[in-house]
Each structure stands twice: as structure tokens, then as C-alpha cells.
């Protein structure tokens, strides 16, 4: 006796969260069954392995049918085939688009192309995440990227609108899209200590301040926001950043800046002497990063540079985070008192964001 066909269709589609998770995690039916057996479900319910097998198959089939709709979540809401309560729809979508931190750190900032997709095998081995799950996550990134890439308006809003994700997840996706688009290097060894959260935080600041959308010249009329693009950095702004170079190139300016900062911070900083000794190096590092951003290559290395030029030196001198904060505040504020420096607005746009990023990046 073999079962040829075995199905269960409810008027309200049954969704088993546990099985959904197993499916998302890329387990095969038989693996999922044995994992469920191990969870002790048979003892709890008095069911047999055959029942579990049939149940798992059924759910997998349902998820397979739903997957097509999950690729365009608004479709899931409007489709008529599966009657699913809104709360469950939301859960399906949210979980489908959720990702593993370990995986995302591997692909963050990489081009979402076929080439990367080929590397998924290695990533799977490295992270212990099943290849199937890696593929789903990768395809999710790519799909979201494709949809919002050319879109005007707020990146997060666009993602939320088209994929109906929670605010939190939409923000993460915004970061992933932003990083993929700008190809920021995140995989270097010295960047390994950084989490997705750190990068996402920086991405959000950069989107808010450094992209075309950030200029927000005509927010009242949505049709005129021709250039309101959240995914691309504002090229003009990057070009202008070269102007900041005088802060370190002009020796007087640099000295003045240093003395302003030191005067203000004397007695307030635990690492004052270290700061004083390192000021010029740090300042040069930060300004040079800005000046280099004209080149795409250097844009990609932004985080590497920040860590190398600022985070690491400070860390080696054991700056407490609070001292870093005080220093950065003073460092950026003091520029306003430099009479010979005309690019105050540009400096603020640059340093405001950078300060936030550095503070976030500064940890062990």
C-alpha cells in the first residue's frame, strides 16, 4: 500500500509556523520530518511518523504555491486562491524576507549578480546555512534591489510599499540595497567585528544626508522629484568634498583647528594627551577620506578607511567611547570658528554623518 496522493485543503489556509521556519531554512521534507520528530511533537500529540510526514508534505506544498505570491507581497494580499488572515499574511511575508545575519554579512556590499550567486555554495558551507536558504535570501535581496533601484522617493517607504515589510526589516533592506548599489567593502578582515546593524545605521545616515534625495528641494510635488534617488550618493556633493582638503593642507588652519579643539577639551578628556598627539593624524585621516570620495573605488573603501584611519588608532590608545564622542563633537564644531574656512555647510553635511557613523563603528 503506497500513498499516491495525499492532500489537505482548508478554506482558511493552515500555516504551521514551525514548519514554515523549517521550509525557509531550506530543509528537505525528510530532514524537516526528523527535526520535528526530535522536537518531541509525536509525544505531545500522539501522532505517528506517517502523519507527520503527510502533514509536512502538505505544508511544504502550500508554501511552494505561496512562494510565487511572496515574491510580490501585494499580490498575496489581493489574490483569491488562499484565504489567509491578514495577521498570517504579514507573518508569511515578514518571515520570508527575514534573513540570517551571518549570510547578509557575507554578501553585504557585493554586487547582486550571477557571479555572487555562484559563490553561495561557499557561503553556505562557511555559515552552515543551507544552500536553499542562501538562495532565497540572495534572491530576496536581488528582487528588492531590482524593484526599488530606479524608484524615486524614500527608499524605506518604497520597500515597505512594494514588499509590505515591517519598518525594521524595511530599514535593513534599505541598507542592503544601498550597500549593494554603492558596493561598499564590508568583507575585509578588519571589518569583521562590525554587525549588519552597524552598517545599517551608517547606511541610514548616509541615505539621509549624502544622497540626492537628501537635498529634498521640492518635496511638495512628488512628480518633480526627478532626482530624489535614495540609492545613489550625491555626486556633486562628493566632488565638493575636495574643498575640505584645505583643513589639513593649510598648515595654519590645521594648527588653529587643533588649538581650538584642545582648548575646549582640556581637562575633559581622559585621553587628552593622546588626542593632542594624534590630532593631526586623525584630522588628516578624516579629511582625506572625504577628499578621496570622488573616486568610486575609494567610495567602496569608505568603511575600511574609516576603521583604519580613525577607529583603530583611537582603539589602540584605549579611548573611551565618551571621549570619542566629545572629541568628534568638538572637532566638527570648532570648524565653525575657523574664519578662513568657507565651506561650513559642506563640512556639516559631511561631518554630521561621519560623526554618527564613527561613533557607531567605534566598538570592539
Amino acid at each position: 500500500m503506497t500513498s499516491e496522493l495525499d492532500i489537505f485543503v482548508g478554506n482558511t489556509t493552515l500555516i504551521d509556523e514551525d514548519v514554515y521556519r523549517l521550509w525557509l531554512d531550506g530543509y528537505s521534507v525528510s530532514d524537516a520530518v526528523s527535526l520535528r520528530v526530535r522536537s518531541g511533537i509525536l509525544e505531545q500529540t500522539g501522532a505517528t511518523a506517517a502523519v507527520l510526514q503527510s502533514d509536512t508534505m502538505d505544508h511544504y506544498r502550500t508554501f511552494h504555491m505561496l512562494e510565487r505570491l511572496l515574491h510580490a507581497p501585494p499580490k498575496l494580499l489581493h489574490q483569491l486562491i488562499f484565504q489567509i488572515p491578514p495577521s498570517r499574511q504579514a507573518l508569511l511575508i515578514e518571515r520570508y524576507y527575514a534573513f540570517d545575519e551571518a549570510f547578509v554579512r557575507e554578501v553585504l556590499g557585493k554586487k547582486l549578480s550571477k557571479g555572487t550567486k555562484k559563490d553561495l555554495d561557499d557561503i553556505s558551507t562557511k555559515t552552515g546555512i543551507t544552500l536553499k536558504s542562501c538562495r532565497r535570501q540572495f534572491d530576496n535581496f536581488k528582487r528588492v534591489f531590482k524593484v526599488v533601484e530606479e524608484m524615486r522617493g524614500s527608499l524605506v517607504d518604497n520597500i515597505q510599499q512594494h514588499f509590505l515589510l515591517s519598518d525594521r526589516l524595511a530599514r535593513d533592506y534599505a541598507a542592503i540595497v544601498f550597500f549593494a548599489n554603492n558596493r561598499f567593502e564590508t568583507g575585509k578582515k578588519k571589518l569583521q567585528y562590525l554587525s549588519l546593524g552597524d552598517f545599517a545605521f551608517c547606511a541610514e545616515l548616509m541615505i539621509q544626508n549624502w544622497t540626492l534625495g537628501a537635498v529634498g528641494e521640492a518635496p511638495t510635488d512628488p512628480d518633480s522629484q526627478v532626482d530624489d534617488m535614495d540609492v545613489d550618493l550625491d555626486k556633486e556633493f562628493l566632488q565638493d568634498l575636495k574643498e575640505l582638503k584645505m583643513l589639513v593642507a593649510d598648515k595654519d588652519l590645521l594648527d588653529l583647528h587643533k588649538s581650538l579643539v584642545c582648548t575646549a577639551l582640556r581637562g575633559k578628556l581622559g585621553v587628552f594627551s593622546e588626542m593632542e598627539a594624534n590630532f593631526k593624524n586623525l584630522s588628516r585621516g578624516l579629511v582625506n577620506v572625504a577628499a578621496k570620495l570622488t573616486h568610486n573605488k575609494d567610495v567602496r573603501d569608505l568603511f575600511v578607511d574609516l576603521v583604519e584611519k580613525f577607529v583603530e588608532p583611537c582603539r589602540s590608545d584605549h579611548w573611551p567611547l565618551n571621549d570619542v564622542r566629545l572629541f568628534l563633537n568638538q572637532y566638527s564644531a570648532s570648524v565653525h570658528s575657523l574664519d578662513g574656512f568657507r565651506h561650513q555647510a559642506l563640512w556639516d553635511r559631511y561631518m554630521g554623518t561621519l560623526r554618527g557613523c564613527l561613533l557607531r563603528l567605534y566598538h570592539d
Partner: protein, 1053 residues
């Protein structure tokens, strides 16, 4: 009454990509009714076309309106080659033809293609203007209402129940026409779908005419079936009960009529409950029935079934005295009909009723189950306009049923149904029902009210009247063991009662009920034509006998004494016959306590054998005791002397107040004492019998928290909560073809059913405590070694604490000498106090919440589930709402869609009125509930919008790609549900009640990577309002605590 049909094509969405180059589609729509076709403009390059067409108007007479479906075809325009069809929508416009139902059909319909399934959706608006004319010779029957529900629909009152209406129409099956060889599968499928749609329309119209002739205005319990006879044609037949219904207009008028809104579903206290015994006959064109009593190899003290046409196993004795009796009665029955020369005179020819629940006072006594089967050889239907053969076949069977009923001293048959099983050219026709005595006044014109009241008075011993035997004690149609009614002590009752109807609301039941199934397979040699038919008709009696035995054994094992909703299905295949009987067992207080089962060995001298027997006996006794505990069957004990004496002493308290732990011992004692009296002895004389006993014990009870029944509601559970989940589950197993024996076959089949049930319990575990209601098993044998079982049922949650309490009070009330356990007596008042205090302030609040949630598009049922989902889910839904809101404000296009969505699903009037606010514009797809029951727990049906009767074919030539057979059928059934829901929503409804999947014919050819499936479903589209919402509207309404029908008895006492 000619009319004008108006159709507007609004928009499409989610269309498939038809042009690979542009990834878009140039769609247009053809609207066809009868022979007239209109077209919309082509909407270029869009997957979401906005046609916004003019109103297409068809001027047609109402005969066509009834017969023809509106056919909408969506196509992709192609300049150079033929236009490609995307898919079709068939809309049955019948609901628009009677005033009280829907006034407009408007909404999103899935575009369906028989090869690709659902391919996007189309928004359509349909209206009908009818002109009155007084043509007397009209062929149409517009205005006659149809209901699938097998009881008087909730918001109506029966003035007169006229009786049986039947009709059948035949045609050639397009699949077997010569042209099928040259046309595409799609064309062939569509021809079939269209034809069946047309035939159903015609059938309904013809039945309607008969109803009008009888001066009725409605058909209740309408059951329409297809017989796919293959080469010989396609038969569409229907039966129903003609009634004159009166709409209960205002809710105020309605409410008193049914005691509480929640129990409206069965406002009839007087349904007849039990019938006992089983009679059935067989005949076939080639096999003359010879009557002979089956010799029984056990002594059965209960009314046994009587078979005519049965050669008994031990001897082919020619008919005994009983046969003579039967003949006589049949004859007299015929004579009594006043020698009406017409054999086929329609009216009152057959006093049959397809209803399973009845208005109060309608049912007086119940005799027992009557059934008849007949094996026929199919031949080509030569003249479709005169389907005499098929008519004659059914007439024969009905005649037989009628005479069986007469033999039971009954003049009517209720809970009547007909079915067929076809394999190649052999066809088994079956009919069954419950013989009953009805209140004649109900069947004639006259004041119902008066008769009602009278009836109620007459039947004062409520809850047992129906159990009293209708036949003459001295001239019993079969040997039965009669006792005085345990309730009123005045009338005789049988010791076991079998019926096909639902449990009457006023029946006094002890404990809970349970699903009882008898399953059986018999191998049969492959044969052709007559030899085959003979072989089948020879096997049938044995099967029925065994099915009956199994039912009886299982019933006793459960410690119960009556079966309701009995449905025996015999399926014929190439090389086997399958029998599946399902029923709901209960313990009726009016009937005697069932005796135990005793096992007797054939070789009493063998010591080890003896031991084995006694071991088995012990197991059986244990099981009975366990079951009694499980189903809470603890009837008041009645000492031996009292039995037979008309007025019993009230039970002695002392014996009743025993603790739980002792009770099981008590039970065994009881059994033994009964054992003396009416032992039910199973003789184990061969391995077969051994198997039987084993299989008795292998049936596993459902896990705790689960109950199941195949009737509308579960006896003993009264307080349903609102969460329901209707489902269909299909399983096909392949038998290993080698050395199949009956035993192996039985085991396979048994395992199949048991495993299926186990899977259901597992899948629905999150709903515990819950009850599977209306569990409907269908068996078919699609191929030699394949067995297909299809189950449709609904799981309903209930409140456990309340359930206990109501059962108790129920029992206590109806049996004055109710026995409650000592402990329970102590516990209960406590629980009651602690429960009732908080439960008063809370329910309203909860209900408000519920109503609020359903206004926002979240159905209450889902609400309830979401509790389990943790707050995460709630947050999710909030985002979605939020995002949708945002989306609407941001995107202009979306505003347009919103408008159409709103327009598309106008809520029924009732709904509109009762809702404080229209559904939120951003609610996505309205929830449509589906249930095989005639009611929705915790809600009140305010309007019937018309019958849903849909037939779909799905075919694939890429089976593997669609996930194999399971993937294919899973998707198809999901699509069928979706189409039913869409039609209901378009009618303005929010639920389908009395939903039934009448056919699910699945054929596969894995070698060719092909499969085909035909599904036929029906039900009643309704508008329901949550009781909580109702309360807001009418404050004077009594609090609606979710106690469905069962409590009817309480109210009447």
C-alpha cells in the same frame, strides 16, 4: 417574464503575461449569453486592464435566463494570429431571478482555464431587469427558491411541506463525441463545463415548474448529482423537497420563532430521531431478487436488518415467511394509493422528504432505515429528450423504498437521498432514507400555528416520542427486542435505532456522540456486462449484512444505542466492491442500555484457545468501559424488575453517587447483567471473525479534546465558539496488486481511513477543543488498484467548560433522576460561580472587539487564532494596515482600485444595515466562510442569496511540473474554493452554508504526464451577521450565548 440582462466589464488584474516579447498582455473580453456575444475594446499592454465597458444588454426570455450561464471569456488580442484565450468565467444568474435574493452580482471573479487553472481576476457587474407577464404556459419557473440546506432555512418558516420533487435530464457527454478526437482538450473541457451548466439550469427550471404546480415556492434539501456514464451519456438528476416558505420579515418577528438566535439552525424540536433496523433490497435487471432471511451466526437481540434478494451464507434457502410478508405489504401499499393508474404521477407519488431536520411537530415516529439498491447495465441513451429508462430505474427503487417504509408501519420516508456508483457499464443505484410517521396536518394546507401547538401538547413526553415504534408489536416486520420507553414508560421502543436524519433537537441524549464507521472491501472477479452485474448483485447483500454487523458491533463497543445520519456508500470498481458506512452514534435516554459483546469460541475444549477468548473478552469489556467514560455515558441505572413495568421508581441516590474510580467496575457489572438478558455474542469460528474482532479494537478514539460526528452538530456539545475551518482532504492509495485477499484489502482500507482521520486530528490540533462536524467520506475506485477517499468536514471550536456545564444541566433537567457524580456535584457549583461572574462582564467586551475586527476585515475566527500567534502577528497586521494606508495616499492609481474593490463587493443589505460602518476601504479580500453545516456558530443568517452549484474540470499535460498528482489536486481544490468564495462575495454574501463537494473524480496517467479532475460543489450563499453585532442593532434581543440547537429540548420542557 422576459427580462433584460445587463453586464458591465470593469477591469482585470493579475493577468498572465501573454506576449513574451513585451511581458505584457493585450486583453479584451467577450461576453456571451445564449447566442449573443459582445466584445470590449482591447486594452493594450497591461496586466491590469481597465475596460470600464458600457452596459452590454441581452434581451432574453426567462427560460433562457434560468438555463443559460453567462459566459465571460478573456482573450489576448493578436494581430497576426488567432487570439489566445486566457480563461473564462461562468456566472449563474439564477440568484438574480427572485426578488429576495441578490439584486446585483458584482465583484472580482477568478479567470479560470481548464488547462492552466486560475489566471488573474476580472471585475464584472451583472444585473437583471425582469418584466412581468402573465403567460400561463410559461416554461420557466423564475421565483422558486432553491436551498441545499436540508432543513427549513433559518429566516423562513414552513407553511406547507409539499413533498418530493425529482427530475433528471440526460445528454451525450461531449468527452465521448466524435468531435472530441479532433478538438483540443481545452475545447472539450469547456464544452463539458458549459453543457453541465446548461443542464443544471434546465433541471432546476423543470423542478421549479413542478414546485409551482404543487403550489409551493421553494425547494429545500435540493441535491443535484451528475452521473458520468461514459459512452452512454451524461445524466444530471436532482431531488428535493417542495415547500411553501414564508419569510420571517423583521428580526423581531423572527426571534421569537427560534428560541435563541444561535440555535436557529434547528428550530424544530420534533425531529424524529430514531429508526431502528435496516431494511434493504437489491434487484438488478438480470438477477431476480429472491428473498430469504439471512441466517445469522450470532444471536442479535436488536432489530436486525432484513434483506430480500440475499442468498445466505449457510444455505441458499428460498424466502422465508418474511418475504411473504414483505410482498404482501408492498402490494397493499400499492393498492392503498387508490389505484392511481399513473405509475409516474408526480404529486405525492412518493412521500419522501430530503430534509434531515424538521419543524416542530412534523415528525411523530421513526421506524428505521430503509434502503434499496439496484444494479443496472448502462446502455446508450438514444433520445435525450425522453430519458425514460433512467426515470424508470429510479421510480422502481423509490417504489421499493416506499414499500419498505410501509412494512415498518410508516407512511413517509425522511432524510431521503439517492446515489450512484458507476464502473464501466455497470451502475449501482442506491436510495436510502428513514421510515417515519409524520404529522399529516403539516403536509396539507392549513394553519400551521394551530397544528403546531397541538402537536407539541400531544407529544408531551418530549424527547422520546420519536423513539416509539410506529409498527404493530404483534406483527413486527423483523425480530426486534422491544422494551418500554425508558423515558415515558408508556410506549414500546426498540433497543437500537438507526436513522439517516439528524438528531432531533429535543432528543434526550446522555453523554456525547461519536463518529462510527463500518468499512468493508470485497474482491470480485473481473467480468463483462451481465456476468459482472450478476456478480455484483450477488455480493451486495453480503456486504450490507457485514456493514450492518460492523456498525452494530462498533455501536455496542461505544456503549451507545442509536445511530444518526447513517450513510452507506457502496462503490463498485473493476475488481472489487467497497462499502463505507458512516453514522453518528449516541446514547438515547429513551432506549435501553445496550448489552455488552460476548465472545464465544467454536472449540470450547481447547485450553489455550479459551484463554485467548477470555483475554479478548476482557479487552472488549475494557474498551466498552473506557468508551463510556470517554463519551460521558452514565445513564441512570434501572434495576431489572423495573424494566417492563410502566412506571419506574425514581432511581436510588445511593447507587448513583459513586466515585469516578469505581465507575468502570460498575460498568462491567452492568454489562454482565445485561449479558444474561440480551447477549450480543460474537462467535469466533474462523479467521474472518477473528479479524472482525481485531478490527473492532483497532479503531483508535480521537485524541483528547477532539470529537467527531457526521451529523450537523455533536450531541452533547452546546456551546460552539465562532472559529470554524472547513476542509477537504483527499487520499489515494495504490494497492500492491499481488495476491490481494479480502483481509488484506480490508486492512488497507481500514488503515487508509484511520490514518486519514489521524492526520486530520493532527492538522487541526491548534483548534482543540473542537469537534469535526458533518464528516463526509466518499470512496471511489478510479482504477484497478487505486482507492480514493475524499473527506469534507468542518472543525468547530467549542468552549470546554461551558460544554460540560450545559450537558449536565441538560441531562439533569430532562432526566429528573439525573445521576451526577458526587465529586462533580461538589465541583460544579464552584466552577459555575467562579465562571459566571467574570464571564458576564467579559463577553460583551470581547464581542465588541470581534465586531470591530470584522469591520476592519479581520474575521473573528482569525482573530481568535491570532491569539496563539503571539503579539508578533498582531504587529505584522498593523504594519500591513499602515502600509496599505500609506500606499493609498501615495499612489494615485491605487485610489481607483480601492473604489472598484468597494463597488465590487457590495455587502448584502442586511449586512449593510447591521454594520456600523462599511468595511474598511483598505481591507483586501473579504473573508467568505464555508461550511457543510446549515448554520454558522455564533452568527445569524439574515439572508439567503441563492444556490451555488458549480462544476469545474481541470486538466494538465505537465503533471510533474505542477508538483505531481498531489500538487495538481491541491491547487485545483484551492482554486475551486476560491471560485466559490468569489461568487458568494459577488452576490454580496459572506458565507456558504450546506456546502458539499458532490463529486471529485480524479484520473491520472503518470506515464503521459497527464491528469484530469472533475469537481462539483454546491451550497447556499448567505449573509450572516455575528450575534454580537446583532445585539448592537437590536438591544431588546436576548443575550446570545452560543448555544446551538441542541438545547431546544430544554426550552420546550
Amino acid at each position: 417574464m422576459p427580462g433584460k440582462l445587463k453586464v458591465k466589464i470593469v477591469a482585470g488584474r493579475h493577468l498572465p503575461v501573454m506576449d513574451r516579447a513585451s511581458d505584457l498582455t493585450d486583453a479584451f473580453v467577450e461576453v456571451k449569453f445564449g447566442n449573443t456575444t459582445f466584445k470590449t475594446d482591447v486594452y493594450l499592454k497591461s496586466l491590469n486592464p481597465q475596460w470600464n465597458s458600457e452596459w452590454f444588454k441581452f434581451e432574453v426570455d426567462d427560460e433562457d435566463l434560468q438555463d443559460e450561464p453567462l459566459q465571460i471569456t478573456v482573450l489576448d488580442h493578436d494581430t497576426y494570429s488567432a487570439n489566445d484565450a486566457i480563461g473564462k468565467v461562468y456566472i449563474d444568474i439564477d440568484p438574480l431571478l427572485y426578488s429576495e435574493a441578490a439584486t446585483v452580482i458584482s465583484g472580482w471573479f477568478p479567470i479560470y482555464d481548464t488547462i492552466h487553472g486560475i489566471r488573474g481576476e476580472i471585475n464584472v457587474v451583472v444585473k437583471v431587469d425582469l418584466f412581468n407577464d402573465l403567460n400561463r404556459f410559461r416554461q420557466s419557473s423564475c421565483g422558486v427558491k432553491f436551498f441545499c440546506t436540508t432543513s427549513i432555512p433559518k429566516c423562513y418558516r414552513a407553511i406547507i411541506i409539499h413533498g418530493f420533487v425529482e427530475e433528471l435530464v440526460v445528454n451525450e457527454d461531449p468527452e465521448y463525441q466524435w468531435i472530441d478526437r479532433i478538438r483540443t482538450p481545452r475545447a472539450s473541457n469547456e464544452a463539458r463545463q458549459r453543457l453541465i451548466s446548461l443542464m443544471s439550469g434546465e433541471l432546476q427550471r423543470k423542478i421549479g415548474l413542478k414546485v409551482l404546480e404543487m403550489r409551493g415556492n421553494a425547494v429545500v434539501g435540493y441535491l443535484q448529482c451528475f452521473d458520468l456514464e461514459g459512452e452512454s451519456g451524461l445524466v444530471v438528476r436532482a431531488i428535493g423537497t417542495a415547500c411553501t416558505l414564508d419569510k420571517l420579515s423583521s428580526p423581531a418577528a423572527f426571534l421569537p420563532a427560534c428560541n435563541s438566535p444561535s440555535k436557529e439552525m434547528k428550530e424544530s424540536p420534533l425531529v424524529h430521531p430514531p429508526s431502528h433496523g435496516c431494511r434493504s433490497t437489491h434487484n438488478s435487471p438480470i438477477h431476480t431478487a429472491t428473498g430469504s432471511r439471512l441466517t445469522q451466526n450470532f444471536s442479535v437481540s436488536v432489530p436486525t436488518l432484513i434483506y430480500t434478494g440475499m442468498g445466505s451464507g449457510s444455505a441458499g434457502k428460498e424466502g422465508g415467511p418474511f418475504k411473504a410478508l414483505l410482498r404482501q405489504q408492498t402490494q397493499s401499499a400499492l393498492e392503498q394509493r387508490g389505484g392511481s393508474p399513473h405509475r409516474f404521477c408526480r404529486r405525492r407519488e412518493f412521500p419522501f422528504f430530503t430534509l434531515t431536520a424538521f419543524p416542530p411537530g412534523f415528525l411523530v415516529h421513526v421506524g428505521g432505515v430503509v434502503s434499496a439498491r439496484s444494479v443496472k447495465l448502462l446502455d446508450r441513451i438514444h433520445n435525450p429528450d425522453e430519458p425514460e429508462t433512467r426515470d424508470a430505474w429510479w421510480a422502481e427503487i423509490r417504489q421499493e423504498i416506499k414499500s419498505h417504509a410501509k412494512a415498518l408501519g410508516c407512511h413517509a420516508v425522511v432524510g431521503y437521498s439517492e446515489s450512484t456508483s458507476i464502473c464501466e457499464e455497470v451502475c449501482i443505484l442506491s436510495a436510502s432514507g428513514t421510515a417515519a410517521v409524520l404529522n399529516p396536518r403539516f403536509l396539507q394546507d392549513g394553519s400551521v400555528e394551530g397544528c403546531l401547538e397541538q402537536r407539541l401538547e400531544e407529544n408531551l413526553p418530549v424527547g422520546c416520542g420519536f423513539c416509539h415504534i410506529p409498527y404493530d408489536e404483534l406483527n413486527m416486520p423483523f425480530p426486534a427486542h422491544l422494551t418500554y420507553c425508558y423515558n415515558c414508560r408508556k410506549q414500546k421502543v426498540p433497543d437500537v435505532l438507526f436513522t439517516t436524519i439528524d438528531l432531533p433537537t429535543d432528543a434526550t441524549v446522555i453523554g456525547k456522540g461519536c463518529l462510527i464507521q463500518a468499512r468493508l472491501c470485497r474482491l470480485k472477479k473481473k467480468a463483462q456486462a451481465e456476468a459482472n452485474a450478476t456478480a455484483i448483485s450477488n455480493l451486495l447483500p453480503f456486504m450490507e449484512y457485514e456493514v450492518h454487523t460492523q456498525l452494530m458491533n462498533k455501536l455496542k463497543l461505544k456503549g451507545m444505542n442509536a445511530l444518526f445520519g447513517l450513510r452507506i456508500q457502496i462503490t463498485v470498481g473493476e475488481n472489487m466492491l467497497m462499502g463505507l458506512a458512516s453514522a453518528t452514534g449516541v446514547y438515547l435516554a429513551a432506549l435501553p442500555t445496550p448489552g455488552g459483546i460476548q465472545i464465544a469460541g467454536k472449540t470450547p475444549n481447547d485450553g489455550s484457545y479459551e484463554q485467548h477468548i477470555s483475554h479478548m473478552q476482557k479487552k472488549i469489556n475494557d474498551t466498552i468501559a473506557k468508551n463510556k467514560e470517554l463519551y460521558e455515558i452514565n445513564p441512570p441505572e434501572i434495576s431489572e424488575e423495573i424494566i417492563g413495568s410502566p412506571i419506574p421508581e425514581p432511581r436510588q441516590r445511593s447507587r448513583l453517587l459513586r466515585s469516578q474510580s469505581e465507575s468502570s467496575d460498575e460498568v462491567t457489572e452492568l454489562d454482565l447483567s445485561h449479558g444474561k438478558k440480551d447477549a450480543f455474542v460474537l462467535e469466533i469460528d474462523d479467521t474472518d471473525a477473528m479479524e472482525d474482532v481485531h478490527s473492532l479494537l483497532t479503531d483508535v478514539p480521537p485524541p483528547s479534546g477532539f470529537y467527531s460526528c457526521n451529523t450537523e452538530i455533536m450531541p452533547g456539545i452546546n456551546n460552539w465558539t465562532s472559529e470554524i475551518q472547513m476542509f477537504t482532504s483527499v487520499r489515494v492509495i495504490r494497492l500492491s496488486s499481488l495476491n490481494l485477499t479480502n483481509q488484506a484489502l480490508n486492512k488497507n482500507f481500514n488503515d487508509l481511513c484511520e490514518n486519514l482521520l489521524k492526520s486530520l486530528y493532527f492538522k487541526l490540533r491548534s483548534m482543540i477543543p473542537c469537534c469535526l462536524c458533518h464528516v463526509n467520506f466518499t470512496v471511489s475506485l478510479p482504477e484497478d488498484e487505486l482507492i480514493q477517499v475524499t473527506v469534507t468536514a468542518v472543525a468547530i471550536t467549542f468552549d470546554k467548560n461551558q460544554a460540560l456545564q450545559t450537558t449536565k444541566t441538560h441531562v439533569e433537567k430532562s432526566l429528573q433522576r439525573a445521576s451526577t457524580d458526587n465529586e462533580e456535584l461538589l465541583q460544579f457549583p464552584l466552577e459555575l460561580c467562579s465562571d459566571s461572574l467574570p464571564s458576564h462582564p467579559f463577553p460583551p467586551a470581547k464581542e465588541h472587539l470581534e465586531s470591530a475586527s470584522s469591520n476592519s476585515g479581520i474575521p473573528a475566527a482569525q482573530r481568535a487564532t491570532s491569539v496563539d500567534y503571539s503579539s508578533f502577528a498582531d504587529r505584522c497586521s498593523n504594519w500591513i494596515e499602515l502600509i496599505k494606508l500609506k500606499a493609498q495616499t501615495i499612489r494615485r492609481g491605487s485610489i481607483k482600485t480601492t473604489v472598484t474593490v468597494e463597488k465590487a463587493s457590495p455587502m448584502g443589505e442586511g449586512n449593510f444595515r447591521n454594520r456600523s460602518a462599511p468595511p474598511c476601504a483598505n481591507s483586501t479580500v473579504g473573508v467568505v466562510k464555508m461550511t457543510p453545516l446549515s448554520f454558522i456558530p455564533g452568527a445569524k443568517i439574515t439572508k439567503y442569496l441563492g444556490i451555488i452549484n458549480m462544476f469545474f474540470i481541470r486538466e494538465t499535460t505537465s503533471l510533474r511540473e505542477e508538483g505531481g498528482v498531489s500538487g495538481f489536486l491541491h491547487a485545483f481544490i484551492a482554486e475551486v474554493f476560491a471560485m466559490v468564495r468569489a461568487h458568494v462575495a459577488a452576490l454580496g454574501g459572506n458565507a456558504v452554508v450546506s456546502y458539499i463537494m458532490k463529486q471529485c473524480v480524479f484520473m491520472e496517467n503518470p506515464n503521459k504526464n497527464q491528469a484530469q479532475c472533475l469537481i462539483n460543489v454546491s451550497g447556499d450563499a448567505v449573509v450572516f451577521v455575528r450575534e454580537s453585532e446583532l445585539e448592537v442593532v437590536s438591544a431588546q434581543q436576548p443575550t446570545a450565548n452560543c448555544q446551538p440547537s441542541c438545547t431546544g429540548g430544554e426550552v420546550t420542557t
